[in-house]
């Protein structure tokens, strides 16, 4: 089987542009609270979601926008939800971490790891009511330290449930390098529950598509869980307004605010010895530096896919313009026609 790269590019770019608009609206103060984007995860999400069938279910984490858009949720209703509008997907009651679509059998949660039990429940219902359907769980690598997700893997294996566990590994959980708080390796961990495991470069849509194809076939045909591990990157950091990203983008301004209290505390009487204090300081600087390095890595799946398609500039331009227009129409339909969305 071969993926249709154009339709995948369409899905990914649409999601990207939509989330960019969301980001602008959030920065402009139209959207409240936290906002976690899936920017950087589009390839693995598109690879999986584009191959789902009608009655398949999705259990989503705090980055539910791309999967829902790609699954066909009305973008206007999705955006209205973020805006807290009564016509939003959930009547404005959920917000971006609590997105639910009965029609698409899709449920999100803002609780890290909760997509595990959620997918198991969907798969159990599929086993009884919709044989041949599967459930997908999306989550980050940090979530794999959450007990309920590990329990869910065991449950899916023990009950022979068609769950595809998709780990989007960006190596970070908010400001924590996951490797520093994680023992062993996650492929082994998932595999130890008796599941088949696969790893893929999440910035390479073709590889992702291929892996997702195999994984979904196996899950669907054997009625057994599969674990798919995709490396990726969050180009906008953990969430919008991410302090680390702010600091990495505007080091002088942000560090100035931070430095005074930090240095005063560093120099304060009573506390640990200098070596330990230095260790703390190094940790903070290393974290900021790490984020900077990560951000500068060229692993944007949308850019990479575009390069693959680069011979066909005209078709690309047509598609890109079309998506821009569509996004504009979405904004218009949400009553945001005159909101400038491109100034951060």
């Amino acid at each position: 089987m071969q993926p249709d790269l154009w339709s995948l590019y369409r899905l990914m770019l649409y999601s990207r542009r939509f989330e960019e608009a969301v980001a602008a609206l959030w920065h402009a103060g139209h959207i409240s609270g936290e906002m976690h984007l899936g920017i950087g995860e589009e390839a693995i999400v598109a690879a999986v979601v584009s191959q789902l069938e009608d009655q398949d279910a999705m259990a989503l984490d705090h980055r539910g926008t791309p999967p829902l858009l790609m699954r066909g949720v009305d973008p206007v209703r999705l955006l209205l939800e973020f805006l807290g509008h009564p016509d939003g997907l959930c009547g404005g009651h959920g917000g971006h971490m609590h997105l639910f679509s009965v029609k698409h059998l899709s449920a999100s949660s803002g609780i890290v790891g909760a997509s595990g039990p959620s997918a198991v429940g969907f798969a159990l219902a599929a086993q009884h009511l919709r044989p041949g359907s599967v459930a997908v769980a999306f989550f980050g690598e940090g979530a794999l330290n959450q007990g309920m997700l590990m329990e869910s893997m065991n449950l899916a294996a023990a009950w022979h449930l068609p769950v595809l566990f998709v780990c989007k590994d960006n190596e970070w959980a908010i400001t924590t390098k996951s490797a520093t708080v994680t023992g062993g390796n996650l492929m082994n961990r998932a595999g130890s529950f008796g599941m088949k495991t696969m790893a893929v470069d999440g910035s390479d849509i073709e590889a992702c598509w291929q892996s997702a194809w195999e994984a979904l076939c196996q899950t669907r045909d054997n009625g057994e869980p599969v674990y798919l591990h995709a490396s990726c990157i969050h180009l906008e950091g953990h969430f919008l307004g991410d302090q680390l990203i702010r600091t990495s983008r505007h080091p002088v301004k942000e560090m100035r605010k931070m430095t005074g209290p930090l240095m005063r505390s560093f120099a304060k009487m009573h506390g640990s010895n200098v070596r330990k204090r230095m260790g703390g300081l190094r940790h903070i600087l290393a974290t900021i530096q790490n984020i900077r390095t990560q951000m500068s890595i060229k692993r944007d799946p949308v850019v990479i896919l575009r390069q693959k398609l680069h011979g066909e500039e005209l078709q690309l331009k047509l598609l890109e313009d079309k998506i821009d227009t569509e996004i504009e129409q979405v904004l218009e339909a949400c009553g945001l026609a005159d909101v400038k969305v491109n100034d951060e």
């Binding site: 449920a107 909760a114 039990p117 009884h128 309920m148 329990e151 869910s152």
Partner: protein, 340 residues
């Protein structure tokens, strides 16, 4: 007419559950050891519908939530309510909230079934009641039956409910749970089991019993005793004692903690002007406070006392008997309340 027969408390629940399972193939049971604990259902419905789970409460209660959303009607057992701690996120942040989050568009028709309560000397991690604690979370229905007939009817109603229902069965009322956790086949131990709670007449064909309707188990003039579960029977005993001292007590069996049947509560308080809440769950920030607040909000004036569990339940039987609400404490509180 609907014929009757005599059933034990837990038989009644399983019988109603069996009726629901027979009527609707979407109803299933999930939990640890349900293959043995529900063996009578197992041989009728098979292992796909009586589904044994690993010791992974957070996963399988959480799975119950989406299974319910996706069309099943799971009755998820967490053995005893004390174990719900490990699955609390699924209850607090998912089962209870998804209807609201989805703008009312998605329901969670799940029943969480658990044994609860003490009185058999198993210590404070295995004898909690917790109904008032769970009731704090908006979006949950909390049912606590006190008789076999109620238990069966409420189980049926819980399964038919489109929203999550916590169904608590008191171990002193349920012979199989009491044998499992307290008696273990021994004839050498005794428990203060209320006979009318543990065995009683039940309909041959179950009808759902509307959740949220309290039952007045005894009409009195001087004070109103309000309770659920085993507490109801303790109140009835106390009322008999009190009658000897010419104190006439009403006994109200709430049957469900959420929703609270306010009307019948108001009626009784209006009549007796004295209210005592008898609650085996912890005293603070629970059922007794809520009943007080609800009555006060309605503008009623009345005097008030409560007989509840104030601390972690001690293991040793004689302390346990003092810590859990007992007839003596109820009588003492009643007499004290009559004096002011």
């Amino acid at each position: 007419m609907n014929k009757v027969r005599t059933l034990e408390f837990d038989e009644a629940i399983d019988d109603a559950l069996g009726q629901a399972m027979a009527a609707n193939p979407r109803v299933m049971v999930i939990g640890e050891d349900v293959g043995m604990i529900r063996h009578n259902l197992l041989v009728r419905f098979g292992r796909e519908r009586i589904k044994s789970a690993p010791i992974s409460e957070s996963a399988f209660v959480g799975a119950g939530v989406t299974a319910a959303m996706a069309g099943l009607r799971p009755v998820v057992e967490v053995m005893i309510v004390d174990f719900i701690g490990v699955a609390m996120d699924a209850i607090l942040n998912h089962a209870a909230k998804i209807k609201s989050f989805s703008g009312g568009k998605w329901n969670v028709p799940m029943v969480v079934r658990a044994a609860c309560g003490g009185g058999y000397g198993d210590g404070g991690q295995h004898e909690q009641s917790l109904w008032g604690w769970l009731a704090h979370i908006p979006g949950l229905t909390v049912v606590v039956p006190s008789t076999p007939a109620d238990a069966g009817g409420l189980m049926l109603a819980a399964i038919e409910s489109d929203d999550p229902v916590i169904f608590l069965e008191h171990k002193l009322l349920s012979p199989s749970w009491l044998d499992f956790m307290g008696r273990g086949g021994r004839s050498t131990v005794e428990f203060d089991v209320p006979p009318t709670g543990t065995m009683g007449e039940c309909p041959k064909k179950w009808q759902p019993l509307a959740i949220g309707k309290a039952a007045c188990r005894r009409e009195g003039e001087d004070l109103t005793l309000v309770s659920v579960g085993v507490g109801v029977h303790r109140c009835l005993e106390a009322a008999q004692e009190l009658a000897k001292q010419r104190i006439s007590a009403s006994v109200l069996d709430l049957r469900s903690v959420v929703p609270l049947d306010k009307d019948i509560l108001y009626e009784q308080i209006l009549k007796t002007k004295r209210l005592i809440v008898v609650d085996e769950d912890y005293q603070g920030f629970g059922l007794s406070g809520e009943v007080a607040a609800v009555a006060l909000e309605s503008g009623l004036k009345f005097s008030f006392a409560r007989v509840c569990t104030k601390q972690t339940i001690p293991f040793t039987r004689h302390l346990e008997d003092q810590v859990l609400p007992n007839t003596q404490r109820i009588c003492a509180a009643s007499i004290a309340l009559m004096q002011n």
